[in-house]
Symmetry: C2
Subunit: 310 residues, 2 copies
């Protein structure tokens, strides 16, 4: 481990996973690397954007990731540990309902955009409703074993767009290495998100992320794993949760029902519009699987933290 | 509210939901009612049982619920609030792998039984591995609107076998009322369980549960909801989590993969057998939905609390 620190700059980004991409940096394990991350719209949305700009998004330019970084010594079959060290400040963010995208896509056909001012170090949704800022990278991964260009959208055995909200400061992510040097990239930084990311977007916010790599040999994992050093959601837990449930023979449908009921609750209890409630659920509500064994009905619980309400 | 307290005894149980059942007790809202609960095997398993007894289980006698209790004034369209007040002591419990049942049923075809000694107020799985006891009712609900006898196994719009591990002391469950008097029953008490209950059983333990009813009129909910007064899992959070993930176009398959990887980890890191690891995952590991929007792959995370290891 050294005190040296590298920076990968925001223009050093790419779209999709391709193991033929030239590395923008080579590093030894043990050094800290800072990545400047472009927001998930790839700069298409800004503080003054409206729902019309969401409708006009060019999907070929969404979800850029910064990298790839070649980690010296990493070989297929190794495990690359990514220690999440820190995040830089973020000034603003956005959450959108994008037509055709999201858990309830059929019920929300119109584009919608919420712009967040994060400059005060907090994320106020509306007067009396404040989301704790807890940054993590929505997309973090390594090159795939298969050649060619692969869409950035789905997560796979290389990690990628996993949208795991718990990859916050102090977490350690373990990724299987598929190609020489691993070819690590990261992007899609989120200022906050609930487990599930139900509307399809989080508080999408450009910021820097600093990580440190470690290599583990003679270990082998098929898919990503992670370690959290302490309580997952201390900032949200203190005042408990209002929880809706949904049951169905299909787990996705159960998740849809629980989310729908939570949206209804948010509308009724806090006077939000449907779109506002869907967006708030996406950035603050956690989906848990209560049971997947009582055939034919599985049950999903949607946890709304009461701590976000003043 | 009165200081009066009622007890519904263990012999006052029934199998399945049937809105024609005669109530065993009528109460006003506001009083505390204690229910003596028979274990989920209906007394077929005991401290000396073996895997052979699991194979011989008579399923017509599983998952008895104590009740039904007629709540005076409850009418269809009301909401019955069930305040979880307390649980009695429990001396022992069991966790079984039941052939044909559970998230990984195809991979665990043989019966398996773990008997827990809970008499010391703790649930030791093996030397150095201890599960915090945190009782809740696996099955809690009211009569269904439809006439006839309905299997107890699946949860439905009446609640029932929801296996929501968070319905612990202090939680408040809201159930839609479908028939006059609601006809409330409860059973299937668990000493501990993870979100998901992956092997199909929890620490199944006979005990008493005391609840208080409240009625809400002019509210209407389609399916059960609940409120937690504070942090969901403070007893498990302190030392963080080891988390496996699984991605798949089907959420159930993603849950299966994350569970399988967690079983592998438990075997490798702690020297457990496959069956032991599956059982431990069922009583201690929480399934969370990380994302359900990055088509075509959804991602499930399986959270193993490090606090259970000495």
């Amino acid at each position: 481990m050294t005190g040296q620190r590298y920076t990968v700059h925001r223009h050093q980004h790419h779209f999709g996973w391709d193991n033929a991409l030239e590395p923008v940096l080579e590093v030894e394990p043990g050094v800290a690397v800072e990545f400047e991350v472009v927001d998930a719209s790839g700069g298409q949305l800004h503080r003054g954007s409206t729902a019309a700009d969401v409708a006009a998004l060019d999907f070929a330019r969404v979800n850029p990731v910064t990298g790839p970084v070649f980690v010296k010594g990493a070989r297929p079959g190794d495990v690359l540990e990514v220690e999440i060290l820190d995040f830089g400040r973020t000034e603003w963010g956005w959450t959108a309902i994008i037509p055709g995208f999201g858990l309830l896509a059929d019920e929300f056909p119109e584009p919608y955009l919420k712009i967040w001012d994060l400059s005060g170090g907090k994320a106020e949704f509306a007067p009396g409703i404040e989301i704790p800022i807890k940054p993590f990278p929505g997309t973090i991964g390594v090159a795939l074993p298969e050649p060619g260009l692969h869409s950035i959208v789905p997560p796979r055995q290389n990690g990628g767009n996993m949208d795991i909200r718990h990859l916050t400061r102090g977490a350690r992510l373990f990724l299987p290495v598929w190609v020489e040097g691993a070819l690590f990239s990261v992007g899609d930084t989120h200022a906050a998100q609930g487990d599930g990311e139900v509307c399809g977007t989080a508080i999408e916010a450009p910021m820097t992320i600093t990580v440190r790599f470690h290599l583990h040999r003679e270990q082998s994992i098929a898919e990503p794993r992670y370690i959290l050093p302490g309580p997952p959601t201390p900032e949200a837990d203190a005042r408990g949760y209002y929880v809706t449930t949904g049951f169905a023979p299909d787990l996705l449908e159960a998740a849809r029902k629980a989310t729908r009921f939570q949206i209804e609750h948010l509308q009724q209890a806090y006077g939000l519009s449907r779109e506002e409630a869907y967006v708030l659920a996406s950035v603050a509500v956690d989906l848990r699987i209560s049971e997947v064994v009582d055939a034919p009905n599985w049950l999903v619980s949607a946890f709304l933290p009461q701590a976000i309400f003043r």
